[in-house]
Structure formats: C-alpha cells, structure tokens
Symmetry: C2
Subunit: 337 residues, 2 copies
DNA sequence: TATCGTTGCGCAAACGATTGAGCAGGGGGC
DNA sequence: GCCCCCTGCTCAATCGTTTGCGCAACGATA
C-alpha cells in the first residue's frame, strides 16, 4: 500500500504538504499547482490513509461501536441503518459488536474502548444484566451511551417511547371492545418492560377497565418466552380475549403457540404487539403491531455518542418523533360474544 | 490509558523489557523477579496494549472482516457464531460489515483492506452482483475468501453443500408420494441457485419423475420473492402438489401467501425448504426444512482467511460434514388424491 | 588470568500519519 | 533602503509498539 511518503516522492514535495492537502487542512497554504500534483499522485498510486498511523497520531479512530445483545434480531436492522447513516454523515464508521453474554465492564467493552479500537460506543444491554453491573460503566470515563437500556442519569441514554407504544397497542384492543386484555411483558428487571407496563396500565385506567389477577406475565422477549406466556395466560379463568405483547419476537412465538393449541386468532383471541418487523407481516394471521422508530433511535444514539466524544456533553433522550404508529393487520378483531 | 512506558516506569525497567514480557516473546530473557514486577505493574495500571500502536508497528491487525449482504438475516447468526468461535481460538477478532449494495471492489472492501483495518476478509456477495465485478477481486491481492458465492478457482472459497440440501428436500417430497414437485429457486445468476437446482433435478431424475414446464421459478431469496413464486406456481396447470423452496426466507413468504390465498398447507400443498432457522419453527404450519451447516461454514471461512493471511495458501472447500439434515415439521404430507 | 558464552536487560530505529515551528523569497508600506 | 508580513513550502517531533542489536556482568573453561 502506498504511504504518504510514496505520494510525496512522486509529487516532488514533502510529506507534510501531502498530508495537509489530502486531509484538506484549513490553513494548508499550498499553491493550486502543487495541490494538483499531489492529488494526481495520490490517485495514481491509489493512496489510502493508513488507519493505524492516523489513529495512533491523532488518538482518534473515528469509529463508534454499536453493541447489541442479538445482532440478528430483525428489530436491529433499522437501528443499525439509522446508526450507520448518522455515522457516515459525520465522518465516522460503525463497528458492530455482539454482547450475548457481555455484561458492562466485561471483555468486549474493555477491548473496544481500552485498546482504543473505538472512540465511543452505543450499548444496548440485555435484560439479564444485573443493575449492579451498570455501575461499572460509571467508573469508566468512556463515552458510552445506553440504548433502550437504563434509566437516565447514569451515563447518556437514548430510548424509545415504550410507554406510548404499549399505550397505543392497548388502546387498540380497548377500541375494538375488549376488556379482558392481558399483557405479555418482558422480565421484571428489564428497563423497557417497566416502561411498557406503565403504558398498558394507563390505557386500562383511562378506560376504567379492570383486569383479573395474573393478566400480566413477565417472562421475556424471546420466541419461546412468548409461547410460555400464552400457555400461562390461557390457563387463567376467565381467559383473556386480547393480549398485548411487549415484543414482536415474543408475539411470533405466542401466535405460533396459539395455533398449536387450536386457538383461532383473531376470532377467539386478539393479539397486538409492540414493535413491527418483517416477521410480523409473515405470520398467520399477519400481526397487528405498533411500529416503533428504531431507525431514529440509531441515528440519535450515534449523534449522542459523537457529541459525547467531541464535546463531552451527555444527555438523556427519548425518541418521540416520529411517534409510534399502529399498523393494523389481521390478528385483532372485536371480541366474540 | 496506561502505555508501555507507564508500566516500565512503575516497574523500573525499560519499555522493551515490558513489551517482551507482556507479549510473551519466546526469547525474552527476563529474570523471574523482573517479570513479576512487570506483570504486577501492568495489572495495577490496567494496562492494555494500544491497538493502533501495535497495528502500525507490526502491520497486522489480527482482525478479519466478515461481510454479508444482510446482517440481520437469521441464517447468518450461525455463520457469525462459527466465524467468531474460530477467530477467537486463533487470536483474531471479527469485524462485521454489511454489503447491501456493495459490489466487489466497492467502497467497503477498499476501506477495510486498503486502510489496513483488517488483515483479510470473508465475503458473501449478494445475488445481484454481476459476475464482471468478481474479477476485480482477483486483481487485488488481498486475502479474501468468498462464502457461498463464487465458483472455485478465482480466490479462495467456502460453500455449503447446496446440491445435497436441495436433493434431500426433493427426496422428502418424493418419498411422501409427490410427483408434481415444483422448485422455487433464486435468481438465475446466483451461484447457490445453480447448485441447488442440480440437486432438485437429480432427485427427480433418479426417481424417474418428470415435471411439467414452468415448475421452476427463479425469482429470488427474499420474503416477497417467495410470495411471487407461489402465485406463479399456483397459476400453472396442473398445479404442483409440493414445492421445494431454495431459501427459508422465501419459504416464509411463500407460506404466508398460501395462507392468504386460502390454500391449505399441507393438505393441499406441501412445502419444504432448504435452510432452517428459528423463523421456520414459528410459521403456521411449522416448516419442514433441511438444516444446513452455517456454523461450520463460518468456522471454515475464517480458518481459510487466516491460513491465507499467514501462509498465502488458498483453497476451495465445500462443507459436507456434518451433512445437511432433514427436519420434518408440519408443512409436508402425502399428496391429496 | 585471559577468553568465551550466557544471562539480563537497555538503546534506538522503525511503522505512517499529523502538526507546530521554522525558513526562504517576494511584495508592499514608509 | 529597511522592515515586516504573507505565501508556500519543509523539518522534525510525536503517538505506542515491536525488535535487532549492543553491552555490561558473571560464571565457567582453558
């Protein structure tokens, strides 16, 4: 690979002149003719700045890490796209990481930040992370922004309007005439689960609807969790006529389990989920869902990380614009009577 | 962040001694006592080697890129896990990239390799890539290994046993008694589509079954492609009683479309797909599928890239062990009569 | 007692890029 | 004619690591 030195030699100038021209420094003070020779030489040699050299000298990588629990979750597609768009616009690159078993303070973060592979990171923590681990993040001074994960005040954070998402989903069932509305939620510890729960509760309260005991499960967000939730809820007496599921993956599992048990959706049971994704369109019946703005979350998170890197400011943001939006498909209908 | 110099100062030795100890050089020639002082100092200061410094000096990053068309495709989960496991065992890190619109020779590859961000890469090209673009890869001397993408001989490659996968799927329908077996395949240009096609054909030929004209569609591997394929196939006369789908995403769409058209699966139509993933378990009815060994492909690809990096050897491998495996669920049954 | 080999380190030169300081030469103001 | 400033570059230090080489000190051998 060609270096600055190679380009300089070919253009007959010094290395510094080349550096200044190619990274177009504001006060480069190079004549038009020289500038042209340098640009030509660089393109003839297919010059590309060496990442390590640049990073070493400038102590900046222009890379932000994006670490999520499960990279192949369809929900993260949009988030990643948002993150990449924002990063690209600002001259950064996104480095994707998984954090399957990664607790804050764990190996992945230490490597990425500690070895200087990234300048900062957006981090979504899995629900299994004990709150204690969160505090380790505080101790590190690294520019970390939590995504859909932690309550404000610790480090920076960006979150969806989970409350409103669950509210809208619940209202949809209420408007269809349901009253026995159950809620298949995430783990009790989960930050998002808490927020979605308030939306569900508020919708019920506003409509002055009371639901039987046990109408909320708190199993988790996986497909299997959804299956479990359905079995628990259908064992209740009286049975719910509608279920709000807090996560689309769980909803897919819940729906599959309903089919397995011979429950007719939406005739005997309506299902609405928070989150939309391509999987929701391809279940049977297609899932009615509240589309959340993951794209915007991605953009906002990266913007926030970069601001943190460049100015040191930290902030807590909730993405409310665009607002969560109900997408009515075929898994919801008025209750049977 | 602490540097080698900091550690050296604290331990009262030279930088080189520290470097040799911490990167345990084979002929470090350091006394046990000094070694201990160095190790202690390093851990007290939480020393971590600076990535840029090391990469610059050694001209090695110990990073391999893994670039796939769609990172959120469930099929790649296993592939990535395999890749990461193999990389970790060999002291490498995996850097994930998307290649949505990335043609070989395009920007992503140029950045990753040209700027020295990775030492080599495993690359899965989308089906839309014109074969011409492939040749650009040859010109670059970079250690690139193609995954499920190109015919052998160009650069290194690792592929699934697509032929056998399609063969097994087709045989399953034959054994159930189907004869009017259609094939929903990928784009004609697609390398994998060609290979799967030979499996389908061979199974039919061996069973001495002839199918009507038009029983193969070549639309593509997306969910929508699957929907389109179903509509085309069901417009044929006589209608197929079974369909082999070359890709699980297309199969999900195809199944959803069948439900939409009121076709009963498996009573009126059997569907079997090549590839298995969690989505296949959660359709209705659950999809019978041929499980392909993506995990092993990931491992093999990374092993191949590293071999290419370290020794320069290149190879073409087909993953045949473990073999593709039929997972019978509920989307297939004997034909109605 | 010279000589030699080994052990146990330190010195200093890279790697490629950035950047403050310096230095010629020319033009303008007085 | 002198001074100063501006233009258009070059010099050289620096970032953190790795690594070939050098060099004491010391025990062993001749």
């Amino acid at each position: 690979m060609a270096t600055l030195g190679d380009v300089a030699a070919r253009a007959g100038v010094s290395i510094s002149a080349v550096s200044r021209v190619l990274s177009d420094a504001p006060d480069s003070r190079v004549s038009a003719a020289t500038r042209q020779r340098i640009v030509d030489a660089a393109s003839e040699l297919h010059y590309r700045p060496n990442f390590a050299g640049r990073a070493l000298k400038s102590a900046r990588t222009q890379v932000v890490g994006l670490v999520v629990p499960d990279i192949t979750n369809a929900l993260f597609t949009e988030l990643m796209h948002g993150a990449e768009d924002e990063a690209t616009e600002r001259g950064y690159t996104v480095l994707l990481g998984r954090s399957d078993d990664v607790r804050p303070g764990g190996e992945v973060i230490a490597r990425l930040i500690g070895e200087g592979r990234v300048d900062g990171m957006a981090l979504q923590i899995g629900d299994g992370v004990p709150p204690a681990g969160l505090k380790d993040l505080l101790s590190t001074q690294a520019p970390i922004v939590l995504v859909n994960s932690a309550s404000p005040g610790l480090v920076g954070s960006v979150t969806l309007d989970d409350h409103r998402g669950a509210l809208i989903a619940t209202q949809h069932l209420l408007e269809l005439g349901h009253e026995r509305i159950a809620f298949a939620n995430g783990l009790p510890r989960s930050f998002t689960a808490k927020r979605r729960r308030t939306g569900y509760k508020q919708a019920l309260a506003t409509a002055k609807v009371q639901v039987p005991k046990g109408y909320e499960t708190r199993v988790g967000y996986t497909v299997d969790n959804g299956r479990t939730a359905l079995r628990r809820l259908m064992a209740l007496e009286p049975r719910p006529t509608g279920i709000v599921v807090a996560n689309v993956n769980a909803a897919v599992g819940l729906l599959a389990e309903a089919r397995r048990l011979g429950l007719k959706v939406p005739d005997e049971l309506s299902v609405v989920t928070v989150h939309d994704s391509w999987t929701a369109e391809n279940t049977w019946p297609p899932l009615t869902a509240v589309k959340m703005q993951f794209y915007t979350v991605g953009r906002t998170a990266v913007r926030s990380v970069i601001r943190r890197i460049e100015t040191g400011e930290t902030s807590d943001e909730v993405v409310t614009d665009p607002a969560p939006e109900l997408v009515v498909r075929e898994s919801t209908a008025p209750p049977a009577r």
